[in-house]
């Protein structure tokens, strides 16, 4: 065999070997990147779960607590009242709205905490993954806003219902008093008159009241 042919074969084998080593090296490097991506994915899932379980769920739970607290507080206020004047209605309304605003502020703080955790997380990952998560966040924010609107709507509806019920209750109460007067007749009127007039009327006062009433009737044009 020609010595030159042998050199050529050796060169080809060396080149093939180098290619093989390069291929193996690149393959190993690729495996490492895959492993790194898998780790990233695992981390992503872990943080996602953390966001879901530690941040977003508590926010949702808090929303439910707000509704309960609002309902309880409204019930407490309503139950503590026997009747309402216009100014007392305003007081009740302001009290309730203040309480509602305070609770919603807490809700917004919790929602803000969620955003901070999210921002911290996305700053450490690749732009393509971040883009996908941004879309997810938009959905989360949208859901949160819907949830908040529902909270406000539920609380306002609850308040309106309680308030309406209370108006009816007051009207029924007053009607009940008048009905009771009709039922009990003279006795209760006497009692009320003593409270209203501070005394019972003497015969002379009764007679004067009759004449005074006749004069009032005349002024009203009753006899014309």
């Amino acid at each position: 065999m020609d010595i030159q042919l042998i050199y050529v074969l050796i060169a080809l084998i060396s080149a093939l070997g180098l290619l093989l080593v390069t291929f193996v090296f690149l393959h190993l490097k690729s495996l490492k990147e895959i492993k790194s991506l898998r780790n990233d994915l695992d981390n992503l899932k872990k943080v996602k779960d953390e966001l879901q379980n530690k941040t977003f769920e508590p926010v949702n739970n808090q929303a439910r607590v707000i509704i309960d607290q609002a309902n309880n507080k409204a019930t407490e206020i309503i139950q503590s009242v026997q009747g309402l004047s216009e100014s007392e209605k305003q007081f009740l309304n302001k009290n309730f709205q203040d309480m509602l605003r305070a609770n919603l502020k807490d809700y917004q703080l919790a929602a803000g905490k969620f955003t901070q955790v999210y921002d911290s997380f996305v700053s450490s990952i690749g732009s393509d993954v971040k883009a996908r998560l941004d879309m997810g966040l938009a959905k989360v924010i949208q859901d949160t806003q819907v949830e908040m609107k529902n909270v406000i709507l539920n609380v306002n509806n609850t308040f309106s219902n309680l308030y309406r019920g209370f108006d009816t209750e007051v009207a029924e109460y007053k009607k009940g008093i008048l009905k009771q007067i009709d039922k009990l007749g003279v006795d209760i009127i006497k009692q009320v008159s003593i409270k209203v007039l501070g005394k019972t009327l003497s015969k002379k006062e009764q007679e004067d009241l009759v004449i005074k009433s006749l004069e009032e009737a005349k002024k009203l044009g009753f006899f014309e």
Binding site: V81, Q82, L178, I189, V196, V210, L214
Partner: protein, 149 residues
């Protein structure tokens, strides 16, 4: 000319009694077995018979009674419910006030009703007016403002 009897009526009772007396007189006039002079002397209140005799002098008694009956049909009656049983003097006070301020011929029917508490409940010529203390108190209760606990 209207009889003096009409202006002397104070209450619905007075009116009813006078109607009864006129019935007796008319009965005596149209039944020959009863002498109306006897009725006027024995069955009719003296002051009433005096006025009837005086006013009917020189005219037919039957026509006089008929006109008198027509007059009292038109007498306005005021029904009034008050808290207490009125004394005679107070009834006269009311009547005097009505004759002075409303009509010389008006008569009053006083009904005692303790539920009115005070003031007066009036019914007159188909109209009704409640000026009682009961009504005023009920109105106060209606607009009552209840207090918070």
């Amino acid at each position: 000319m209207q009889s003096q009897l009409v202006s002397k009526l104070r209450t619905k009772d007075d009116l009813d009694i006078l109607k009864g007396e006129l019935d007796m007189i008319e009965n005596a006039i149209y039944h020959t077995d009863i002498k109306y002079e006897d009725v006027l002397r024995s069955d009719i209140r003296s002051w009433v018979s005096e006025i009837i005799i005086r006013e009917s002098e020189g005219q037919d008694l039957g026509s006089y009674v008929k006109k008198l009956r027509d007059d009292i049909v038109g007498v306005p009656i005021l029904s009034a419910s008050i808290y207490f049983e009125p004394s005679l003097s107070f009834t006269e006070t009311i009547s005097a006030w009505l004759k002075k301020n409303v009509s010389q011929n008006i008569v009053i029917e006083v009904l005692q009703n303790s539920s009115v508490l005070g003031g007066i409940q009036l019914s007159y010529k188909g109209k009704y007016l409640d000026l009682t203390l009961r009504k005023k108190i009920a109105k106060e209760l209606e607009s009552i403002t209840l207090v918070r606990n």
